[in-house]
Point group: C2
Chain length 230, copies 2
DNA sequence: TCTAAGAAATCATACGCTTGATTTAATTGT
DNA sequence: ACAATTAAATCAAGCGTATGATTTCTTAGA
């Protein structure tokens, strides 16, 4: 019952690791799309290897099992998104450290952070399959959820801190957290409810114009929710 | 290849239609839960008939096929929700007809409509599986999506009308529609992102207290978004 | 430089299992 | 006794995985 060898995640020393690594990478990239499109159960390994032009056993060979491939995909996506989001996140974090910030300055930084996140999740630069995969995992959480959640946690904490500063309520209060999550939902709903949103809005797909409309909505709502006027 | 008879949706004339109807009903009610919990693919007919204490053949017998059962479930859920929501919806519709409505009155009615919807989708009175089923279908639309969408459309139109009255913008404008959908997303996100929300909030499940917190957030945000103060 | 040994990667095939659907036989109520 | 319904057995198809053979590449000895 014990695996004889452990070729998984081959860290070969020879130069032939090149072709190997390419196959591995191709499998992951194809698997992202297939898993995102069909979900874990419905996605068959045969479909994946067919699209990746690899052999059926290359999945257990490289990833141990179908589930192993799934986890590798989760890791791949979470790392990529976290990496892309890092500049905006660190900028926002450092911005908070400055002394004597006005309410408006905080709101402006927070708005930019949220809008950046929106572009990341809805924009064309990152494949739509990434978001789909994550939302699927959020809906039907498996072990992969832990991988993803861990990478997103720092951004969450930052968001709580911003909302806390804007509302003058503790960062760990229920109101603060639920408020931030609600704001996030306004960013993501276009992806999650894709079919009903496209239909209701009369859109064919998510292009630049559509994202602009969502962005406007976000800026508008953030201003109304947090602007110091009342 | 042709079905010999058509016992589907048996409209028997004998008195034994009673037990038959009960079996049918039980199958649907169980299927709602199983489909909601596992999704279409992962839900096996064996699981369903086992929980419903019915025979394996009863599914093709009563519903033609597994897919037929699935559609029956969609119809069942959509009808039930639409029915429960009808009082609030008609009240809100009639309220809009009154002449000389003030902005605050419209906002109050709209808030009550949204809060009612929140209770319907998040509350304990309607099984959580209903919402799960719908969100699943929204994420991976099949033919069942049409059934559900059609039943929800009137409520959507009403929502657009309210937002339109509150923002003084056309009911069919992109801004109006996306704004309403964003508000809806703030209602539903707790269910859709259930795992990450429960975790982030430190909640174990959705009880009365949790729903109250979401309701407060909604009332607060709707007020900030639409109150006439600026 | 050339070539043969050995490891790494890929392949075709087959196995055990589960699925939805079908068929055959027993049971029920009238 | 008879038609309708249920239970049990069976079917074909699809799934992930295991296995042994084959190809491809790296490397070392002459």
């Amino acid at each position: 019952m014990v695996k004889k060898s452990k070729p998984v995640a081959a860290s070969g020393h020879s130069a032939c690791q090149d072709r190997s690594e390419r196959t591995r990478q191709r499998l992951i990239e194809v698997a992202v799309e297939v898993f995102a499109e069909l979900g874990y159960e419905a996605a068959s390994t045969r479909t994946i290897v067919e699209r990746a032009q690899a052999n059926l056993v290359s999945i257990p060979y490289y990833f141990g099992s179908k589930k192993g491939l799934y986890h590798a995909v989760a890791e791949y996506i979470a790392s990529n998104i976290a990496e892309r989001f890092r500049p905006a996140r660190e900028h926002a974090r450092e911005g908070l450290l400055k002394p004597g910030l006005t309410h408006d300055e905080i709101l402006r930084m927070f708005t930019e952070l949220i809008v950046e996140y929106a572009h990341l999740m809805l924009g064309v630069e990152s494949p739509s399959s990434w978001g789909q995969f994550i939302y699927r995992e959020q809906f039907d959480p498996t072990e992969a959820f832990e991988i993803i959640y861990a990478k997103f946690l720092p951004a969450f904490e930052l968001g709580f801190e911003y909302v806390s500063r804007l509302t003058k309520k503790p960062a760990d209060a229920s109101e603060t957290r639920i408020q931030f999550l609600a704001i996030l939902s306004m960013v993501k709903f276009a992806r999650i409810d894709q079919s009903s949103v496209l239909r209701t809005m009369g859109w064919k797909s998510f292009g630049k114009e559509e994202i602009r409309i969502v962005e406007n909505m976000l800026r508008n709502n953030l201003h109304k929710l947090f602007a110091r006027s009342a």
